[in-house]
Symmetry: C2
Subunit: 157 residues, 2 copies
């Protein structure tokens, strides 16, 4: 990899949730909900989290895995259709340096009594520090965390 390489790639993840689009959408739009499945994962330390869920608003988190280096996620919302669609750009940071930038589209569609979620990520991996295979695997893990969170929240309700 040259010092300032860029690798462009994209992937799509589809999955079903046994909850309505309104409930699944809220797990993204409500910062208190989102933090629980998206940020505060087992083994991760959250140094900061702030979210301003509106078009032009930022969501910024800073975190570490175990004794690992400080990392970050800076998200900016580009399009929001309540219960239906979220489009956002996000960069992943090691310290203060971005190592990827992505455009992400999440579509929520009724699917029987639940929701079909379609996630499309179009990414630029910077300077050889990440790759699409690992990113897709990481995202699949997050959507699994969301399923666990929705099940758990429903049982507590």
């Amino acid at each position: 990899m040259s010092k300032h390489s860029v690798e462009h790639a994209s992937f799509i993840i589809e999955r079903h949730y046994d909850f309505s689009p309104t409930v699944v959408f809220k797990a993204f739009s409500d910062p208190a909900h989102k933090r629980k499945w998206f940020v505060d994962g087992e083994g991760w330390t959250t140094d900061s989290y702030e979210s301003d869920f509106r078009v032009g608003g930022f969501e910024r988190s800073r975190f570490r895995f175990g004794d690992g280096p400080p990392m970050g996620n800076d998200t900016v919302y580009l399009d929001i259709v309540p219960d239906r669609r979220i489009v956002f750009a996000y960069s992943m940071l090691m310290g203060d340096t971005p190592f990827s930038a992505s455009l992400a589209t999440i579509e929520f569609l009724p699917d029987g009594n639940g929701t079909k979620l379609t996630y499309t990520e179009q990414a630029a991996f910077l300077d050889g520090k990440d790759q699409v295979k690992d990113r897709e695997e990481g995202c699949r893990g997050l959507f699994e965390m969301l399923a666990t969170y929705l099940d758990s929240a429903a049982k507590q309700a």
Copy 2:
């Protein structure tokens, strides 16, 4: 097209400029320079333009073509490597409503005595209101405007 469709697509534009990466980069990084070729085109009325060229900063413009409707471009910078690379996300608006969201990467590489510019756009076209063919054509027009501007600025220097 359904009411809330999304079409994902990408394209690449490569072109040579007879000026150094430093000069070509400055036409993007300096708001006074960028406005001249990117915003104030013939036939267009610029209602507002503001730019904050830094990671996390926005560039926002509002404009109309002839007697057409008010349109907008909201850009947010995600990664900047001086004279080498700019990564940004941008949405195009009709009134206040986004009709596309894109991730764009511009790479500047020395090419003889000039610069090879590589532009990669990964886009989501929203609700059937634009398409990749027209977007690519529009971008090619802007990069031609940049060539004209650089030639003109060099003659005035």
